[in-house]
Amino acid sequence: MNRQASSKPVDRFRQRDDGARRPWLGVGLLLASAVATLAILVYFGAWAASDRVTAREQDPVPAGTDVAAWEEGLLYVCPFH
């Protein structure tokens, strides 16, 4: 690679439009991973919540039948439970 130093002390890099270069693909894929991970956690969390609610319904005496806030939230958010 030929990298002869220019005799002009001009930093052309500074004159480039930095705003023209945006890492949409990289940021998008990272966000997609984050969303997918969150979806997996919500799915399993709602599964656990559903099991707990069912267990209490079958044996309501020791624990009562009230649904905890986190259980309610996960069951509300998850479309599969």
Binding site: S6, P9, D11, P23, G26, S33, F44, A48
Partner: protein
């Protein structure tokens, strides 16, 4: 190929004539390896202190385990800061702060009487210490290799597996002999003093030691590594790195890969015992993963250096993801050991090419901040992957979902690797040309010879 031809082939393709053992870079690698071994050993040895803590204080294993999870998350979150500090103040100073915190954390843990103290001392103090201790090491070693970075990082990263293998036995012996509290105290004091002594010989860069980097050739320019101009240029360049897709993709890839193997590293023993394999056999299988993966942990960076990081990383991730599927039908010890033999090889190479691909994309640049961000992804991945097997088992009563998730995360990482730029060209070539145009000795970075992919 006949045997006599192998020598010239290896000599030509791996440039053996350019190597020498008489170079200060190897001292830096040795010190870096010692730091990695100590830090990773204390981290990996946490499992052997759980029972003594349960016996003495009556805390539940789960409550004690939260301190490990907290430490993992704190280390991950602090990694970008540690990387920045290594670049801004130098790896040596940053590691020195890490050693002080390591000593404080270990002594505090040894005197712990309340659960919250364990969370603060081990979870927070040791978590920060570990980030300061471990993150700047790899970029500092990279400073010392103008060429053949894969060889340097390969030898360094072997210590990541070797440390636990050697030190866990010693810690187990000490805990049985003198108790957990004295073991932490002794390890903290001896480890801190030993590392402080080694740091006397540690230099952040060859320029600061008035030496040349390993692989230096006549015509290579020395790099500016400190001072106001360096700081300004470096800050600008780090901002430029963050405008590349590769910066974000590599964080993502490290996260996905670490979820993939953390599921197996944490879940393999309970998975095997759940299928009727004796506990001792399961522990042996886990230990074998550390031993077998040593080979690819060392070789992968060299292959990445020689043939390009992208294909090497892809096959490592693909192998890690596809290999996990063997567990779906494994029921006998033989089937599990076959899995261990096959899966350990891609697993060993999964995370070790990152320093090399950073060099190939960004040149001979201070890569502490970039590497720190990548370790943030890795740390969060390890924390999530470590939690998944137990969580999934509690819900489903089996490990099939955990195996599927492990494969899915690793294969997703392989897919993202396919979207990376080729490593033939540096990603910010205009910067590399323009820093020369200052007419002064202000070069902060330097391009590297093109790799093969």
């Amino acid at each position: 190929m006949s045997v006599p031809l192998i020598g010239p082939f290896v000599r030509r393709h791996f440039n053996l004539d350019e190597h020498t053992i008489r170079h200060y870079a190897w001292v830096i690698v040795a010190i870096g390896a010692a730091a990695q071994m100590l830090g990773s050993a204390i981290r990996m040895a946490f499992g052997i202190v759980i029972d003594p803590l349960v016996d003495e204080f009556g805390w539940s294993p789960g409550a004690i385990g939260y301190s490990y999870a907290l430490m993992s998350i704190v280390t991950a979150l602090f990694s970008p800061v540690a990387g920045w500090m290594g670049s801004r103040f130098g790896a040596r100073r940053t590691m020195l702060v890490g050693i002080v915190l390591f000593l404080v954390g270990m002594v505090w843990v040894s005197q712990t009487r309340q659960l919250w103290e364990l969370y603060v001392a081990y979870g927070v103090v040791f978590g920060i210490a570990q980030a300061l201790f471990l993150v700047p090491v790899v970029p500092a070693v990279a400073n010392w290799f103008r060429r053949h970075l894969g060889l340097g990082t390969g030898l360094l990263l072997v210590s990541w597996s070797l440390g636990p293998a050697l030190v866990i036995q010693l810690l187990g012996f000490l805990i049985e002999s003198v108790g957990w509290s004295t073991t932490f105290l002794m390890t903290g004091i001896a480890g801190s003093l030993g590392m402080a002594a080694l740091l006397l010989f540690f230099k952040d860069s060859p320029e600061q030691a008035n030496r040349t980097a390993y692989g230096w050739k006549p015509g290579d320019r020395a790099l500016l590594t400190k001072g106001a101009v360096f700081n300004e240029k470096n800050r600008e360049f780090q901002g430029r790195i963050q405008r590349t897709n590769a910066f974000w993709n590599l964080i993502n890839i490290h996260f996905l890969g670490c979820v993939g193997h953390a599921v197996i590293l944490v879940g393999l023993v309970p998975m095997m015992t759940h299928r009727g394999i004796p506990y001792g056999t399961a522990v042996t299988a886990l230990a074998l993963i550390s031993i077998i993966s040593l080979a690819t942990r060392g070789i992968t960076p060299m292959l990445a250096d020689r043939f390009g990081s992208k294909p090497i990383m892809f096959w490592s991730f693909f192998g890690q993801g596809a290999g996990v599927l063997l567990l779906l039908t494994a029921n006998t010890p033989g089937e599990f050991f076959l899995f261990v033999a096959l899966w350990s090889l891609p697993y060993g190479g999964e995370g070790t090419a990152f320093p090399v691909i950073n060099r190939q994309y960004y040149g001979h640049v201070p890569m502490g901040p970039t590497y720190g961000w990548q370790l943030l992804g890795a740390g969060l991945g390890m924390a999530l992957g470590g939690a998944l097997p137990g969580m999934v088992f509690d819900i489903t009563g089996g490990y099939t979902w955990a195996i599927g998730l492990s494969a899915g995360f690793s294969l997703a990482g392989a897919a993202v690797i396919l979207l990376l730029n080729p490593t033939r060209q540096p990603l910010i070539p205009e910067w590399m040309a323009e820093t020369d145009a200052q007419g002064e000795r202000v070069r902060v970075i330097d391009p590297v010879p093109a790799s093969a992919d």
